[in-house]
């Protein structure tokens, strides 16, 4: 006897709105359907209609609260490509440091959530306590904990102060010492092993076929990382290598356990990158165009298009931006958040699992669901057409009438 179980759009197992339609036989999941786009925020519309490009950095920052460096990073990469802008070396290094700080806090946050999903709340509290150290540094360097407002076209807005560097180094030491302990708790504990080993397997073939990205793909043995394949910012200097679980365990299974391994190793990798970046931090300017008013004028005059690719903690984020002369907002702006590519890998992962595995398997790709839902604008003969509330209401009334008259 087969049953259909809907999980979502609003459900305690999912932090954000998405609908999972499960077909179960007994406890075993036979088939999965993912229905996305339960939440639409119209962020791209704001960027194309209401905001000037400088304001759009901050709206990009708010696409995702956790990846609040990644989205601005991708949008500035796209605009810098469109404008052919040269960025000072020091700014590139500071950007790398900020991106890696974000990766540390995001992966630790995820590790805590993963522990919580399997009911291991004491480990959640421990992990988040460890995470607090990097949050303190973010507050010290940026002025607040979450949305750092540091990215700017052609550089960064704030420098890393000399007196902050010893404190950052102290934090890095803390993570270096704490890593073995954290790895012991996560990778040698019986509870975690029982719940995550051989659960939610994504094979290498499936990962390639479904276009999975980020730690989800790397845990399946796909050596894919934008920092390695197409280095941007100052990443060419660091020679980043994609991390796969066989570096630690000696084999690639592609299960939830491997995804924990990859994320923990990436924390270690980020710590090493920041350490090198701080040691090699070049001196110089931090902005290509320090006069903001002039930058706004340049942005208005600019014409061209660019694509920004950035390795966010969850995978590759892509922003496409088109600028048009004498048109202040972005002429076109398209955001592809990493979860969009990873969401389909839920289907092979969940098949054969039990219903009780849904929260941990769903969480294992580190989904950021509200980030993935984007605007779809319909072009009618090249003309822009936006359907407003009134029009929608009119269409709805029309349909009711049609149904009443026996139509479809």
């Amino acid at each position: 006897m087969k049953y259909e179980i809907p999980i979502g759009p609003i459900h305690p197992a999912l932090k954000e709105p998405i609908l999972l339609q499960l077909t179960v036989e007994g406890e075993e999941i036979k088939d999965v359907d993912v229905i996305a786009s339960q939440n639409h925020r119209g962020i791209e519309w704001i960027g194309m209609n209401r905001n000037n490009p400088v304001q759009s950095i901050y709206i990009a920052e708010r696409i995702c609260g956790i990846c609040n460096i990644s989205h601005p990073a991708a949008v500035i990469l796209a605009v810098e490509e469109a404008m052919n802008m040269d960025v000072p070396d020091r700014a590139q290094y500071i950007r790398v440091i900020q991106c890696e700080l974000e990766r540390i806090h995001s992966h630790l946050l995820w590790a805590g959530v993963a522990a919580h999903e399997i009911g291991f709340d004491s480990l959640l509290h421990y992990t988040w306590k460890v995470r607090e150290k990097v949050m303190d540094i973010l507050e010290l360097v940026n002025g607040n904990r979450v949305t750092k407002a540091i990215m700017m076209y052609g550089g960064v807005r704030r420098d890393i102060k000399k007196e902050h560097i010893p404190k950052i180094k102290k934090m890095l030491e803390y993570y270096k010492e704490g890593f073995d302990k954290l790895a012991k708790f996560f990778l040698e504990d019986k509870t975690i092993e029982m719940r995550t080993r051989n659960v939610g397997i994504l094979t290498k073939e499936d990962a390639l076929k479904l276009g999975a990205i980020g730690p989800t793909a790397r845990a399946s043995g796909v050596k894919k990382d934008v920092r390695q394949d197409q280095p941007y910012f100052a990443y060419p200097d660091f020679d980043v290598k994609a991390i796969t679980p066989d570096m630690f365990t000696g084999e690639v299974v592609g299960d939830t356990y491997d995804r924990i391994v990859v994320r923990l190793l990436e924390v270690k990798q980020s710590v090493e990158i920041i350490e090198r970046a701080l040691d090699e931090l070049p001196s110089g300017d931090i902005l290509a165009e320090p006069k903001l008013v002039k930058l706004l004028m340049d942005l208005k005059k600019a014409e061209g298009e660019g694509v920004g690719r950035h390795e966010a903690p969850r995978g590759e984020v892509i922003h496409y931006v088109k600028l048009k002369k004498d048109f202040e907002p972005f002429f076109s702006w398209k955001v592809r958040a990493p979860t969009y590519s990873n969401i389909m890998s839920w289907i092979p992962m969940l098949k054969g699992c039990q219903i009780a595995d849904v929260p941990i398997v769903a969480a294992s790709i580190d989904p950021c669901i509200s980030c993935t839902n984007r605007v779809i604008r319909i072009n009618n003969d090249g003309k822009r057409e936006i359907i407003g509330g009134d029009e929608l209401h009119r269409l709805s009334v029309k349909k009711t009438k049609r149904l009443l008259e026996g139509g479809s």
Binding site: V54, S56, Y126, K129, N144, K184, F185, D189, K190, L296
Partner: protein, 135 residues
């Protein structure tokens, strides 16, 4: 395979709490009375956590009316549209309730009339309270 977290759990039993302390240890029967007592100096509360770096901290916006020349650049860059222009006086009014503390207006101001202070505890139920309007 064993439960590697158990020793850490026992260690935590005997360690100090990691979280920031609340102003008072137990919830008082009357917050108003407690605050009055604090004003009189009868009881002491745990002070709020210190700001890590006062120079880099981005708190509530501060506005120097005299320096402002009414150029409207801050209005142009404010991502949250939190700033309003007062036509007659050629000055601005900032709604902190909408402010996202990005500091973009501070950066663009040609006369340095805007700055960010240290205040950040501003929770209120009234959207248009005095504390949230800077002019």
């Amino acid at each position: 395979m064993k439960f590697t977290f158990i020793p850490e759990l026992f260690r935590q039993l005997f360690s100090k709490p990691y979280t920031n302390l609340f102003p008072v240890k137990y919830a008082p029967a009357s917050i108003k009375e407690t605050l009055e007592k604090v004003e009189k100096g009868e009881i002491k509360i745990t002070p709020p956590v210190e700001i890590p770096d006062k120079e880099t901290f981005r708190g509530k916006i501060q506005y120097d009316r005299e320096k402002c020349i009414g150029c409207r650049l801050c209005i142009k860059v404010c991502p949250a549209k939190a700033i309003e222009f007062k036509e007659e006086e050629k000055k601005i009014r900032i709604y902190v309730g909408r402010c996202i503390f990005c500091g973009q207006c501070v950066e663009i101001c040609p006369k340095n009339a805007l700055s960010q202070g240290e205040e950040f505890l501003m929770a209120d139920t009234n959207k248009v309270n005095e504390n949230w309007i800077v002019e």
